[in-house]
């Protein structure tokens, strides 16, 4: 238990010392929030069903953070630790691999939460965004989405042979997802063919679920999203446990 606490605290410090991960998780989404605010202002937009674009920016950008922490932070940390021999050194101590994995999940989850809280605070203070959903529902959807994306990260870290390939795989998945999942602009605006592609992107389901819950839609409208994300989570756990290697 003491080992888990110390490892978690250490990993949190290391996360914040790494300028790239701290920037992309905490600062980059805020920059987009202000960009959206500047573009759309406070006027209602027909494409958003009469809502202001900024009102749905928070759940959308939260989805982006989840994509980044899952595919960049988790993947890179685990792949780097394995390739450079950090895990090898840990293996000579009595610490359990579960402690190492759990600390990683806790820290990345906490940082994702922090990123979302910063967005909410900025949105409320600067744009007085409306929140019509249920806070617990949003939180539950957020936990499910985060964990299922961390699962993808661990899968990539476990299956890719080197840090470089893990990074490339993460980027190849992340970039199209950010633009085609509806996080930055609604999928309805995209050509029909591209809309079909977006149905294959896990982040699309995160965007749909979080945006729906944020605007007060019931869970019943999002059974597909929940099903896809839960399936990914189970797959992620199985594959990452099976493919975990110390070296």
């Amino acid at each position: 238990m003491k080992g888990l606490l110390k490892t978690t605290w250490m990993e949190a410090k290391l996360f914040l010392r790494e300028p790239m991960s701290a920037f992309f998780t905490l600062i980059f989404p805020l920059m987009y929030l202000f960009l959206f605010g500047a573009i759309s202002g406070n006027e209602p937009t027909p494409q958003y069903g009469g809502q202001r674009m900024i009102d749905t920016a928070i759940p959308s950008l939260t989805a982006v953070i989840i994509g980044i922490t899952g595919l960049m932070s988790t993947t890179m940390t685990m792949a780097t630790y394995r390739e450079s021999g950090v895990l090898r050194r840990l293996r000579t101590t009595p610490v359990s691999p579960l402690v190492v994995l759990a600390a990683q999940v806790i820290v990345v989850f906490a940082m994702t939460c922090l990123g979302m809280l910063l967005l909410i605070a900025a949105g409320m203070l600067v744009y007085h965004v409306r929140f019509e959903g249920n806070a617990f529902s949003v939180l539950a959807g957020f936990v499910l989405s985060s964990l299922s994306f961390f699962g993808i990260g661990f899968m990539l870290a476990g299956t890719m042979p080197t840090v470089r390939t893990a990074w490339v795989a993460g980027m190849v998945l992340l970039y199209p997802m950010m633009f085609l999942s509806g996080a930055f602009f609604t999928v309805d605006l995209l050509p029909a063919a591209v809309q079909k592609v977006s149905a294959f992107m896990p982040l699309t389901y995160v965007v749909n679920l979080l945006r729906g819950l944020w605007t007060g839609q019931p869970w019943g409208d999002h059974l597909l999203d929940v099903g896809v994300l839960a399936g990914m989570l189970v797959l992620g756990i199985i594959v990452s446990v099976k493919t975990f290697r110390w070296e």
Binding site: G3, L5, K6, T7, E18, T92, P94
Partner: protein
Amino acid sequence: MNPIVQVEGLRKTYGTTVAVDEVSFEVREGEIFGMVGPNGAGKTTTIECLEGLRKPDQGMVRVLGVDPQRDGQTLRERTGMQLQQSNLPDRMRVWEALDLYASYYPKAADWKDLLAQLGLEEKRNAPFSKLSGGQKQRLFIALALLPDPQLVFLDELTTGLDPQARHAIWDLVRDMRAKGKTVLLTSHFMEEAERLCDRVAILDHGRIVALDTPAALIRGLEAEERVVFNLDGGLSPVLEEALSRAGRLEVQGERVVVHGKGDRKVQLVTEVVNLLTGLGVPFRDLRTEQPTLEDVFLSLTGREMRD
């Protein structure tokens, strides 16, 4: 007294390559035991089988009385391991690494004492990536000493270090022995094994080809000693003939090397100096070279290049 480490008939293959073949030895409590050998001789594979990091194909291994494969947890709690290739996260500070790793052991030594012992106090707040090679190795030794272990494994401890760092680390290893710990190390520096180890096993092609104290290994070689000196005027035929009676001659320009075992009564160096002064030949920079563990090593493992 039971040996700390017992190995009998250890065998490990990777595909068709036999890395370790029928290796048997014991390590006694309180000694520094060294394994030396050319690259690919099976040193690291052997040590990793003892550490429980690799599963032997055949043979019996007992470390502190337990089987590393069945009771790895006990072993990891009671031994210190320094690996040939391992790392810490770049931005982890020295004190943080010690504090973190201390939390993994049920009865950890006080890391603040280790920091002082290993001369890392000044580097307490330095990130791992900013440490020199010697400082990194000292930190890894500190981590290996955290469980206050009975047995310490050190794999290629001083590879890539400058002479100062190497000597400082040798002192630390002797210090471990003085505190009653047993040390099992691998090295490819013969000088290191000769100066540091109580007993040395020489491995080649996965087998132990010799195992004894360094002094006994050198005596057993019955190697020639060498007398080396420089002659300003070059070698005259008279002198050449006289010297050849003392031993085998090797001439490299002004430099002359006499290889020989000397007489039972007269040492080779006395014989050579007597000859030179008797003939009135001026010479410079005369020195003798005794056989070392490196000579033993080369005579046992051959001179051809490995991998």
